[in-house]
């Protein structure tokens, strides 16, 4: 556990959070290596199956992050995403996935610092949770 390095898969929207991540990167803010960014056009395109896939395949946590309410480039994709995350947060914990392993955040394009802070916080939390139950299991 001491040296446990969790893996966080982050689905980030092209317009806001990806921009924030890029800003964090170019501003040389330090955010943990544990984050695997997957750029999508909009959080509204994140199909629940992607989240399940990531968790079953060994991600210790999944983050879906997009534009704040009212800011979505595609008008309301983030609201749709919020319902899907709500659904997943109902289903997954029933099977032992701690609710903290799935997160939804809004991170705006200029919030590079916030992006870095949230990543640090998430990784800290995941470290505290320990490895995900699915990590070493023979399930696909």
């Amino acid at each position: 556990m001491e040296n446990f390095e969790p893996v966080l898969v982050a689905f980030v929207c092209n317009w806001c959070t990806y921009t924030a991540a890029d800003l964090a990167g170019t501003s040389r803010l330090s955010y943990p290596k544990n984050v695997r960014l997957i750029r999508v056009m909009c959080t509204g395109m994140v199909d629940p199956q992607y989240v399940i896939k990531a968790l079953l395949e060994g991600a210790d946590g999944v983050l879906v992050s997009g534009c704040h309410p009212g800011d979505c480039h595609y008008i309301n994709g983030n609201y749709k995403a919020r319902r899907r995350i709500k659904l997943l947060k109902e289903i997954l914990p029933q099977f032992g996935f701690e609710p903290e392993r799935l997160r939804l955040t809004w991170i705006g394009a200029s919030d590079g610092i916030e992006f870095a802070e949230i990543m640090q916080e998430l990784v800290k939390e995941l470290k505290a949770l320990g490895p995900s139950q699915a990590k070493m299991k023979m399930v696909v």
């Binding site: 199956q49 309410p69 009212g70 749709k80 289903i91 029933q94 032992g96 997160r103 955040t105 299991k137």
Partner: protein, 379 residues
């Protein structure tokens, strides 16, 4: 004003009365056909039949404890597009609920159908039913409803209702156009008929059945039944939760699964032409399997089993009506209904949604609001 009427019953011969009711339905100008379960000449099975002529109603048997399929899918096929006529469909409450879900999913239409539901007495599993019915399906039905209506329960000849039915807290056709009531009704003499929508009232008006009142004790009896079912259901949920509350246990629970996808074929609300799990998305490159095996040292084949069930739950749990056909269809006797219903119960509660309640309620994932579910956002 809702119509309350009766169907005369002679000496608790419900089947004859129901046949007469069906005949009368067919006499109505507005009705072109009825969809009603009938005993089949072959075997002892009971299946939905589409009837246009009254002389083909001999096997009418909506009270049979046989429930080989959820009729909602059949009715959806009949109503998907205008058919040129109106169908009166006599179905179980869970079938009606599934049908309403399919309407919302544009797989069916309500315009050409009058939904007639009956207080559901429950059903046996397919194999149990065959054991119970033997060669005489009609007698089996009579034995079954007489016992149940007499308050002696459905456990007969060593078989009992399916778990789904025992856990069903909604055996009343609340979302039908016309409800046929058994509970709290003196079924030796008559059945209760209730118009529950304008369409239902219209039809009843035309049929001119003798009017009546809802027996005062009906509500209490229904409540009592619901309470005991809920208790059973909650115990079932507790047991299922204990059996699946981590991925190891879930793996064990689903260990028999061979990815046959029968559960989704039997499911009335799984409406996809083809499940995503049989499409190219899951037609992995051979190198993929090797990579998976490498990552964890071994990989169970066939793959994507837990993935399939979890993903399917995200697709259908908000629409699940608890009919139990999934378990009926599972070749390896995995208690999938217990699992799916448990999840469905929780997701539907989370969205304050009740599957099959009303066509006017949008499915949870087809709408959204600006200011909701703040609790899932942020750290």
């Amino acid at each position: 004003m809702a119509i309350t009427a009766t169907i005369e019953v002679n000496q608790q011969d419900l089947l004859t009365s129901l046949k007469a009711f069906c005949t009368k339905l067919l006499e109505q100008d507005a009705i072109s056909a009825i969809l009603v379960p009938q005993r089949l000449p072959m075997k002892s099975m009971v299946m939905p039949t589409l009837v246009t002529e009254a002389d083909h109603l001999d096997g009418v048997d909506p009270l049979s404890p046989a429930f080989p399929m959820n009729g909602a899918k059949v009715l959806a096929k009949l109503t998907r597009r205008p058919s040129g006529g109106k169908i009166a469909a006599i179905m179980r409450p869970c079938e009606i609920r599934a049908f309403i879900e399919l309407v919302k999913l544009k797989q069916a239409r309500t315009e050409d159908v009058v939904l007639i539901g009956m207080d559901c007495l429950g059903a046996y599993g397919n194999t149990d039913y065959f054991r119970f019915a033997g060669e005489d399906a009609e007698a089996a039905t009579r034995r079954f409803y007489e016992s149940v209506l007499a308050g002696k329960g459905a456990a007969l000849d060593g078989v009992d209702l399916t778990t789904a039915c025992q856990a069903c807290e909604a055996p009343f056709p609340t979302s039908a156009d016309i409800a046929i009531g058994l509970h709290g009704v003196d079924t030796g003499r008559h059945l209760l008929v209730l118009g529950q929508t304008p369409a239902g009232d219209d039809l009843l008006q035309q049929m001119g059945l003798p009017s009546s009142e809802v027996p005062t004790e009906r509500q209490a009896i229904m409540d009592q039944l619901r309470t005991s079912r809920e208790k059973y259901r909650d115990d079932m949920f507790a047991a299922t939760a204990a059996a699946t509350d981590n991925i190891d246990k879930l793996n064990t629970y689903l260990a028999n699964c061979v990815n046959c996808y029968n559960c989704r074929v039997a499911c009335p609300v799984c409406y996809c032409k083809e499940c995503v799990f049989v499409t190219d998305v899951f037609n992995h490159d051979p190198s993929q399997y090797l990579r998976w095996a490498k990552r964890k040292g071994a990989v169970k084949m066939p793959t994507d089993t837990v993935f399939y069930h979890l993903t399917r739950l995200t697709h259908m749990s908000t629409a699940c009506v608890g009919c139990g056909q999934c378990s009926n269809a599972c070749p390896n006797d995995i208690p999938v209904m217990e699992l799916f219903r448990m999840v469905a119960h929780n997701t539907q509660r989370a969205f304050a949604y009740e599957a099959g309640n009303s066509v006017d309620e949008k499915p949870p994932l087809s709408e959204f609001k600006e200011d909701e579910f703040q609790e899932v956002v942020g750290l």
